[in-house]
Symmetry: C2
Amino acid sequence: MPSEQMKSIFHRKTEQALSLGYTEPKGTLYLRETICNHLKTKGIEVTPPSVLIVSGGLQALQLISLGLLHKGSTIFHETPSYLTSVNVFQSAGMNLFDIPMDNEGVKTDLLGRLKRQHNGTLFYTIPSFHNPTGILMSNNRRKQLLDVCSKERLPILEDDVYGDLWFEQPIPKPLKAQDKQGLVLYMGSMSKTLSPGLRIGWLVGPEPVIDRLSDIKMQTDYGSSSLAQFAVAEWLASGLYDKHIIHIRKELKDRRDLTLHILDKYFSEVATWNNPEGGFYIWLKLNVKGSMDKLFKKALKEGILLNPGNIYDRNDSSHIRISYSYATPKQLEKGLIKLAQLIKENRD
Amino acid sequence: MPSEQMKSIFHRKTEQALSLGYTEPKGTLYLRETICNHLKTKGIEVTPPSVLIVSGGLQALQLISLGLLHKGSTIFHETPSYLTSVNVFQSAGMNLFDIPMDNEGVKTDLLGRLKRQHNGTLFYTIPSFHNPTGILMSNNRRKQLLDVCSKERLPILEDDVYGDLWFEQPIPKPLKAQDKQGLVLYMGSMSKTLSPGLRIGWLVGPEPVIDRLSDIKMQTDYGSSSLAQFAVAEWLASGLYDKHIIHIRKELKDRRDLTLHILDKYFSEVATWNNPEGGFYIWLKLNVKGSMDKLFKKALKEGILLNPGNIYDRNDSSHIRISYSYATPKQLEKGLIKLAQLIKENRD
């Protein structure tokens, strides 16, 4: 993370004043304007009143849970899903409902039927570099998804926190870019591309919805830090974001390549996996029998913290989420080689 | 607010690295250490594990509401009270219960009796420069309060966000400094002394309580911005805080003096008031009959937003909270002279 570059933001000559007072309820106008410019590069055309600055994805989900949904509502999501791993909606008394995926994303044919049968109120999706599977939803599937949701009047919550992290070629436009009916509520964040510690994200949607969520945000924490908002706005406006993201893509791609190389060499006997085109994750499927619980404990003893599949899908007992974003290449290599050995020893 | 000085924080040579990753759950160790040093100057001796960094007073109340209190609990507070003006506890299904004050603070003799009769679970107090009355609790009263609460086993939530804003002489030590039994949960913040936009405050209490609140904080927003935490730590550690607070005290005192001067000149016929020794507020008592509602509307038409007493005490119909902290001296003068005129015109 570019701490020194971040510090340099505060030396930069800029026409924008750093204001340390309470910010506008939706976040500083300066940051919301730079976010709008940033979103334009993805085909999303919005103006600052449709943008709410939040502290990140988790707070976005919390605000939606508090401000838009009712107890007992049913939230649809891909299976497996990041949503299952956080407790936001469940602890607010809502039900989660699994929709299966294939390699192109959520199965839209099932989505329509299940919506009618189970009365879903919202579909949560990570179309680009899905957590935990790394799947990139195809453009065709995106169109189908929008069609189905429009027909069934099922609002979409699009979580796009990994969308800028493609490796070799740009990806299909976000759902929000193709949303003509105000069906999509869109979440973005700096946590995956710049710094999780800044705690700056954004929610984009129809203005009355954003107004409502902004009220809740003010009642929760009086808005996000003006210092962090200023830093992110300058980061985007100065061009440092664009430079940094090129660097991050290369770093992540190198780690993905290293990870795939190690998987090929040590895991081909015991597992299969996907080749992600961006993002943080490989979804490793074990093809050997053996207790995941025991494997988890053995790995922990060796200093390896596994993310087993059942965090993301209660019924899963055969997957492990591999994240190549955090550990150093050396740690990755050492940990994965050890893991392969443990999987083999753990076979029934 | 010292925006340029705040920027200079990021040029400063320091041994502390700016880390942009997720911070420790309770906040960065560096900030918690500097807060502990800061609290030592007030007689509060604590270590970093007893300190949780929050986004300000409002979030502190939210975390306490979510993590420590049950639906149906009764929260005691001074009358009038800031607590009545925010909706945190009420919207979580708790009851608020009024305890009267005099010029030395809350009436501790009543507090003990009412605790037994009405089973209060927590007493919320602003002992120093109380919002909205400006009252400074005497040292004697502080001792009595601690005695009563210890005897009745009534935990105290001490809101000390104005404590550094004394004008002429230092004030009695916080309740927390005299708390030998872990009875006091203590709140502080940078919002009133440095900048509301930074969104940095702190909660100090017994370690198991802080552990619990820290868990809730992580589930809410994954912690406060590391950038803002770094800035506040540097602000304190560099000595800029101490310099700035001397400046702020002088500025505030000048405005209080101006306000008292205008009150003497224009309000003595229609109102009485206190002379605050610090903080932001004068609690103006109107001695003439007339509808507060009508006065509010007339003032609004003139561009003056009144804070009438019933925001802080449902049964109050005769007070207005005057804050001399925000408006410029010119605005203050103009607004107050107009208000005096409106009060006279509004007489029944």
